[in-house]
Symmetry: C2
Subunit: 724 residues, 2 copies
């Protein structure tokens, strides 16, 4: 941890400029030359359009009233965006009207702010002043203080005093003192709060505010921004709440770090903890597919690299690191910010310095020490059509975490094939509980059965108890990203402490000769103390084309699968007890076929269902799932395969390989080892051998069909046809 | 009808060249100059890639075995595509390998063809030889004969004789004599057959084949190609089966017409019937949204302007008419054909002669005389985001027609908002009934309740009897496309002959001051002889955000709505009896909100449901619908409004106007007139007055809220707020 050596005086802190860098250019000179890069100039034009429209409407600072999505909520959000952009335009152009707009609006806030108490639409204990929750007040401050910095020097002393005292000191006091509990958390809400308060400290030359922001209100460094950078990110830059929140947290981290870097360069904030902030930025980007964040935990699915946080993050990140791969992301975004960082970054982009961002198979450890599980990403190919498997072996991820240990997702051809529901929430839509998380977020979206994760006795991991979940994390046992075989192995033995069920899961991308893409192999072992029901759901996307089995269908009345832990939300379409040859189902999505194939154990039942039962307010999406169920056993091994094949082109009336190209999937237990063989219709056969031994150097061998197979480490791919 | 004056001798008919125009250029000269337009050159390269791959595989002409989508089916399709492209490449490049490929493949067919009887996968009486249905054999011939023409002169006499006799004469005989019933139909299958046979006649100099093709096997002109151009298109160029089939039929119409034009220019085929073939082409294009064909009747939804038929159609159409709007379509397609027509068209495109295709509000009459109803299209705005209402007041449209009189659809922002199911079919996917129409096409997709059309007593129009349906068509009463008010009015009084229910429907796009887009107003009057149940379904796309009413929900068990006529396929999610203030529902689709609002009559029930019940093989898509139900009345007037409003941007966390901007929708009956008023939250109010009087010159007046409203014609928009 960083030692508490902040000695800079208040005077030193206020050396001009405090927050933003110098004006990018002398305004008049720029206007004459028009030398801005296209992307920057477009962004300026966009900002001008928005700010001009806001000016035309007149300054409107309403008395707070509405929750998220409501009028006053949206107006205050628009105000802080407009102030920041107007301030930046003032720096770029020197135009008085921008100056006057920011000044007048802040003076309006100076009227309003002292009159405020708790927001009337408070939803919980974290109530804000301008907004229904303190988080939004912190976001307001992070933006407003940057706007204020652009005009503060040019104000009259009286105006400055007014705004300092009646807006920023009050707001800083509200965030840091009155909302101390939030402020001192190790949580993204606190990152916003400390950023707002800390930047206010720099601007007003208030060392105490800076100290609080950096080291917490107690000043002991057990809270505050620096502690957040230590505890909220793993050594790989993974943020424990998941990529959706990682994106959200990135803005205050990057913006405040930029301010620290300028005001206290001796803190070397961007080198801090082996460059954790750059790692956090790069990891945030790695945790995307086609630009969209992997939607696990309480994620809203619309979020992509095309969000304000990432425009800001990429610009600041590039300005600090000059990492040319960030320019590739900026190009993808087609957007930027109109700060000095944005200007530097777009100039480098124009100078042709971009290099492709290296999306690849990676393991991201979780936890401050990197020992709280991990997220594994396996990728095959590049570009928007590539195939990616995401495996969530991470820790619970705080209050927005889901009970989804060892779950996975699959992406292909730009689509999510094996799904994660994300959050049950319609952000800012007032008709849906004021835009807050819906009740079904608790009853469905967070539950284990809503994920591609093993459920024991129809109850969620940790029995849905978050406090219990916080105590444990999976163990990442192995991860390799080889040419023809990539895999992750992880286990958790205390997701069901009362039942004592340990589970270990290997997920692998396996190349099979003659198939157009690698198949995803899923081998999951569960071992408990007493007889139990094991359910392994698969949430897929697509329309069923062929079933290998013949289910008893509920065609005229649809019952519900169970009660509680999400089971009450599943309609049952049918049930079957498939044999080995018939244990598969094929669906189509966007012109590609997918076959899910599995090895049925004795008495295994397959349940076909759909989400949406017990949903009186139509809050849930209706999406299909299939469950492999084994009942009344102490242990079970699930061996499943997901194959993508063929093409359907309705326009050209061409269909190829609409049926699976795999002839058989077999599972052999040999002592401590498991062997899975995949045989294609064309007669190719590969095996995946699993030793379940985390020692990467141990050598293993087994005899299969009269032939000895030898491999090293946790798991390996062995080609059975050809050669020898 | 064209008089039977075909006098050209066989000798005249075979004046070189018969089918295709001359080689676009002297091959050597071209190779030297490389003057092809980019689009043409790209298409050549694409053709070369495909043909080279086919050559590399070796010529494969399998014995017919499989139905649609199966291996032999697909191989013979690939063969005819490859032959045609190879022949065209031979013409363009003079390369011998292309010549040899077409020759060798046709010699293989000469081996195979004489051995063939009925295809083993016959599905009905229209069995083919190479394919499971005669239609595919005709398609094979249309392509193969064009390929043959490119090489025939360069063959040895023996080869020519062999292919003439053992392929084309046999195939022509099969299509015209053995399959006479199909050949003489007035139907698109017959268009393909006559085109194949007629072009064979031109090529082989066989006047008898040409005569049969042009005038039917009896030679009396009651069948054959010319009669088809008279009976299959309305005077507006609308093809009675609908746009999906219109697209499909366009290729043989255009290609054969091109051949006729070159071989018998005196027939003036493109001037025939006031230029009906160009009208057909332009109408086909008008019947699209974002390039996709309106999917009514048995349509596969993947079909767009980006299909082979339209590449060919646009090229031939431009070559004949030089209509610059067709170049705009070619630009949209980004594809063309490598014929002389394609070359001319792409040269004109490169020369900058394109003009925007005039998509606009239009009425397309149906029936050979234009008196069998119509399809009305109302558009607001231009470009891929524009709003369009499609109203199907057309006749039954033969065997692929649906029982959907006076139904409608709505498109906005590139999405289908109010849906038409199209066909229940997975084209060429063997697992789905061999790619044929599914049983659910009859039981659901064709039924009235699967459309946005009025259902009486839970039975489909014409009681689902196609023969009965063929006897009737709606009457298009009025159509106007004004600035602030566009509407269509139509009626049908014999869709329920046993019940004697007459129905009249007005659908209008109405501008309302302060709303971002016009609203769609739907006023439907139904009048019967005895008490009945009237159901008005709306098939919408989106996720419910807000219900004005409080339905009794089936959350733990979902029953089926009814039995037969499609009702057995509807799951019931809930039922409500809304009051006037609460008669609305809001859903979201792709970031835009839509509110469906209606005026509840006494005791009206709203049923919320979803398709997919009684679907044992998962053949149906699961899509939501809402039904307005009025029970036990002789007559009912349904007044409904569809409003699009607001924006949801999850990435920017911006939501505006997520709730309806309309305060009230009211309905007033005044004598023979109906007045509907729409009042916005902002206080604007407009009325739509309906006289139900088809006389466009009649003037009407009514008193409303103490104020006299006067209008002319069937319907009008009257602004009630602001100045007089």
């Amino acid at each position: 941890m960083l030692a508490l050596t902040l000695v800079a005086s208040a005077a030193a802190l206020t050396a001009t400029p405090a927050l933003a860098a110098e004006r990018p250019e002398d305004a008049a000179a720029v206007a004459a030359q028009e030398t801005y890069p296209t992307l920057f100039a477009e962004e300026m034009a966009r900002a001008e359009t928005f700010v001009d429209a806001m000016m035309a409407e007149g300054i409107t600072v309403p008395v707070p009233r509405d929750p998220g999505g409501g009028y006053t909520h949206e107006q205050h959000k628009r105000n802080y965006r407009a102030m920041l952009l107007a301030g930046q335009l003032y720096e770029l152009t020197g135009e008085q009207r921008y100056f006057a707009f920011v000044r007048d609006m802040l003076l309006e806030y100076a009227e309003l702010y002292p009159t405020l108490g708790d927001h009337p639409a408070r939803a919980n204990q974290n109530v804000g002043r301008l907004f229904w929750q303190v988080l939004n007040d912190a976001m307001w401050m992070v933006h407003a203080v940057q706007a204020y910095e652009t005009i503060r020097d040019d104000l009259t002393a009286a105006e400055r005093q007014r705004i300092d005292d009646d807006v920023f000191r009050r707001a800083a006091d509200f965030l840091s003192v009155e909302s101390e509990a939030t402020f001192n958390r190790i949580h993204n809400h606190a990152t916003w709060a400390t950023a707002g308060v800390g930047m206010t400290g720099y601007l007003l030359g208030d060392e105490e505010l800076v100290q609080k922001a950096l080291y917490g209100t107690a000043g002991d460094g057990e809270a505050g921004f620096l502690r957040q950078t230590e505890l909220l990110f793993s050594p790989d830059g993974y943020y424990t709440e998941g990529p959706y929140y990682q994106r959200f947290a990135l803005l205050p981290f990057m913006v405040f770090a930029g301010a620290i870097d300028r005001n206290q360069p001796d803190l070397e904030i961007f080198e801090y903890r082996d460059g954790i902030l750059e790692k956090a930025l790069l990891t945030t980007i790695q945790l995307t597919y086609d630009g969209y964040f992997f939607p696990f935990n309480d994620a809203i699915r619309d979020k992509s690299l095309n969000t304000a946080e990432l425009y800001e993050g990429v610009a600041i990140g590039y300005a600090v690191t000059e990492n040319p791969a960030l320019l590739d992301i900026a190009r993808f975004q087609g957007r930027t910010v109109i700060s000095q960082a944005g200007l530097e970054m777009t100039r480098a982009l124009d100078a042709g310095r971009a290099e492709p961002f290296p999306f690849r198979s990676l393991l991201f450890t979780d936890g401050p020490e990197g020992d709280q599980g991990a997220v594994a990403v396996l990728r095959d190919g590049t570009g928007p059509e590539h195939l990616a498997v995401v495996i969530k072996n991470a820790s619970q991820g705080m209050g927005h975490g889901h009970f989804d240990k060892l779950s996975w997702q699959l992406y292909n051809r730009g689509e999510e094939i094996v799904r994660d529901y994300g959050a049950a929430r319609f952000l800012n839509i007032e008709a849906k509980e004021g835009g807050r998380y819906l009740p079904e977020n608790e009853t469905w979206a967070k539950q284990t059965v809503a994920h591609n994760a093993l459920v024991v006795n129809e109850r969620s991991h940790f029995y849905g108890d978050r406090d219990l979940a916080d105590l444990s994390a999976p163990t990442q046992l192995a991860f390799e990203a080889g040419e023809a075989f990539q895999y992750s192995a992880a286990s958790i033995d205390d997701a069901y402490p009362q039942d004592g069920v340990a589970m270990t899961r290997v997920l692998a991308l396996v190349e099979v000769e003659g198939l157009s893409q690698p198949v995803t192999l899923d081998v999951l072992r569960a071992e408990g103390q007493r007889n139990a029901t094991f359910d392994l759901p698969l949430h897929y996307s697509g329309h069923i084309m062929r079933l290998g089995f013949d289910p008893a269908r509920n065609v005229a009345e649809r019952p519900v699968l169970g009660s509680g832990h999400g089971y009450e939300h599943i309609w049952v379409d049918g049930r079957a007890t498939p044999d080995a040859a018939g244990s598969f189902m094929t669906w189509i999505l966007d012109g590609r076929f997918y076959t899910y194939r599995f090895v049925p154990t004795q008495g295994m039942e397959v349940i076909l269902g759909e989400s949406g039962a017990n949903d009186p307010n139509f809050n849930l999406r209706r999406e299909p799932l299939a469950i492999q169920r084994v009942d009344g056993v102490q242990a079970a091994t699930f061996v499943s395969l997901l194959e993508s094949h063929g093409l359907y082109d309705g326009a050209a009336e061409q269909t190829v390989e609409s049926d699976s190209q795999i002839a058989a999937l077999r599972h052999h237990r040999q002592g401590a080892y498991d062997l899975v063989t995949i045989e294609t219709l064309a007669g190719e056969e590969v095996a995946v051998a699993i030793s379940w031994d985390a020692d990467p150097n141990a050598t293993h061998s087994a005899t299969f069909e009269g032939r000895e197979i030898t491999w090293q480490g946790y798991a390996a791919r062995v080609v059975l046809t050809g050669g020898e």
